[in-house]
Symmetry: C2
Subunit: 474 residues, 2 copies
Amino acid sequence: MSGCPFSGGPGHRRDGGAPEPAAAAGPPASDGPPAAGDSANRGLSRLGMSRRGLLSLAGAGGAGAVAGLAAGFLGHDAVEAAAALAAAAPPAAPEDIVPFHGDRQAGIVTPAQDRLHIAAFDVVTEDRAELLRLLKDWTAAAAAMTAGRSTGSSGAVDGPYDAPPEDTGETLDLGAGKLTLTFGFGAGLFEKDGKARFGLDGRRPDALIDLPHFPGDDLQPGRTGGDIVVQACADDPQVAVHAIRNLARIGFGQTRVRWSQLGFGRTSSTSRAQTTPRNLFGFKDGTSNLKAEDTALLDEHVWAGPGTRQGEAWMAGGTYLVARRIRMHIEIWDRTSLREQEGLIGRTKGSGAPLSGGAEFTSPNFDITGSGGEPLIPLDAHVRLAHSSRNDGVKMLRRGYNYTDGSDGLGHLDAGLFFIAFVTDPRTHYVPMQLAMAKEDTLALEYLKHTGSGLFAVPPGTAAGGFIGEGLFA
Amino acid sequence: MSGCPFSGGPGHRRDGGAPEPAAAAGPPASDGPPAAGDSANRGLSRLGMSRRGLLSLAGAGGAGAVAGLAAGFLGHDAVEAAAALAAAAPPAAPEDIVPFHGDRQAGIVTPAQDRLHIAAFDVVTEDRAELLRLLKDWTAAAAAMTAGRSTGSSGAVDGPYDAPPEDTGETLDLGAGKLTLTFGFGAGLFEKDGKARFGLDGRRPDALIDLPHFPGDDLQPGRTGGDIVVQACADDPQVAVHAIRNLARIGFGQTRVRWSQLGFGRTSSTSRAQTTPRNLFGFKDGTSNLKAEDTALLDEHVWAGPGTRQGEAWMAGGTYLVARRIRMHIEIWDRTSLREQEGLIGRTKGSGAPLSGGAEFTSPNFDITGSGGEPLIPLDAHVRLAHSSRNDGVKMLRRGYNYTDGSDGLGHLDAGLFFIAFVTDPRTHYVPMQLAMAKEDTLALEYLKHTGSGLFAVPPGTAAGGFIGEGLFA
């Protein structure tokens, strides 16, 4: 009975004379055995189930077997027996799980989930071993969470009872939500203040440049940069927030959250099976985005490594993530005529068809002129300026999200697009286009302001038994 | 042909020799006839369908009838004929619609939707007629949006073509999402700087107090107060954001956004049909919340007006909305032992059962002691201090949401609970409890910080043909 978490009642109390010896509270024991005092947990383990299963039973349909029991007065063998007879909480539905392990990281060509939480971390330790341990802990946690499981060995509610939970718990009743976690390394991981870090001298990829200042940039330091980025995408925002929050928890002492951003609605499709969503200008966005099905184009424009324009072997199967927080001046946009809006975009607002005619996926024809001799797609239309034919043939895989972050203090919503793109090399596939846009694109000049920025080398996927970015540290 | 928006091609251009006379761009014509130049729109109207229907056709399944047509070269009578033969975009599914009109406003006892966007507006006009027109425009827009329709008479894509769209468009392809819009009036609508506004001398309800300063309050002016609040709840966050954004657009010139807050996950159930969600402490929240089914208790604790503790006739069927932005120190919480966490809450983390035993919905027994003589539910447990038996029998209808707003600049996530409660009278149903909590509740003292606040008189519902808050202005 002393092994039962409810036995004697006060065993359930934080300071009330627990019958089992109390272990000292400490950091999450993600890499060690359970705390010595956790006899309660072991008691349940002897019955072949976790406390989580027991409590799920009590909280869900099996409550009849448990309700009315006054803990501290009733023998809990009865509870345990009932619990042992019942099935544990059902695992996450397979169709809600995106596999974590693989040659390439998930969350790139994965059909874009509905919600985003992305965060960039500063690494505050300078100890290579600590960094490697963090990456291994994050790998284990990411594999668990993307499978719909709690982080750590035992989760939020089944101990050790006198240590902090190994998972924060807010997804205990939720599924996997198609969670993907995509990790990338910023320049600051390789060097800071001119000094190499973590023994990574000479390992910074040439393509991992310092992005230039673009005309109109209004970057806030607290929304820019970062040593490691983690993009969490899920169909349930609580699942995405939980993932970032638990990685931050695991990284406490080694990392600090530099910036984080919630995106409430996807603005890109990355699969032909998806419909095209709308951005906060009310227009369909990403119609001509690269899709998972475009494997040859992805090899050319998205994936990095040997045989591509970069030579780093450890980046084979990787890519580069460009993040830009783009504030939209939606109040000005909303006072712009429909004619002007469609001209600035170069597409109709309804169907998203190019102004040169057809339907959404019809290729724009930039040469067609109307009766007045003017091109149907204006010379400064975004679709014209951003088209690959104007940009040395480059394409990108966009994976952005709409955001709203309260008020700007001036009576307006702080809303816009959190732009994310995956490219084979930002020197060829982002910088030239963004330089052109920042100079010529009326949409960018009058309605957009870039307030945050980041560039990250996204390593290839992780094999079972490996860890994130393993190749870089080999 | 001159009535067709595509005719002559350049008719589709913002500055390219449109064959129809261009109307001057102006504010949304929500209260007037279509702009005189909008012959294009009228042309489609003659065919008995909107451009929206036409473009939906082109963008959705009927694309085959339209694809390949090069606008500017083909006669568009063909397009129009095809469009006229097809059904317009399907209306929102009835099960996704929460009725807007009624004796009481929706969004209070409506089963809590998954996502929140709430905003408080400052009214910057001092003109009563302008305020009334705004409330009428907002009423029309709210009725439309909650039914899954665009705001205004014609929406985002069917003109007038030379005026700003009457809807911003980002929900064109989305359903109603169970959207509810709940309006409330702050003290600042009645008086400002000691002077009555809008002829509302003496109309401010006694219950619409200035909330006192609570111990530990760290209220930011930019997150506090406001003359009018609008709570938008929906199962799709883009639907909720769109609603607030369009009300802000309609109110331009009369209102400014004072604060706005996105909530990504509900933390309350307001119907027995719902499961209890979890807050960012990982615990089930709102287990003992009032529910829609508790009609007698709602009459006693939530609804205001004659026969209740307030006497204002125009508030009959109304209530008071208390909003508190509560930052959670999740990083400290996450380093607290499971035992301590459960003791602070007074419930188990898994099932949410009170520590006195039973299952989630078992009433807590505050008298039971364990073998050590200590109460199983600690003396400072939140569930004990917040219980109605300790608070003069008061109950409230909570309707809060988890939030995450990026980083706090100190390496942490800015995350917590956006607390919303509906009560019959904040003087009896919120202030005493919050004063007690702020002094005695260890959870509040060590893990919470209130950073924003608002109190609003929520008038009763709107009848068809009426407008929001009509009784106040009678």
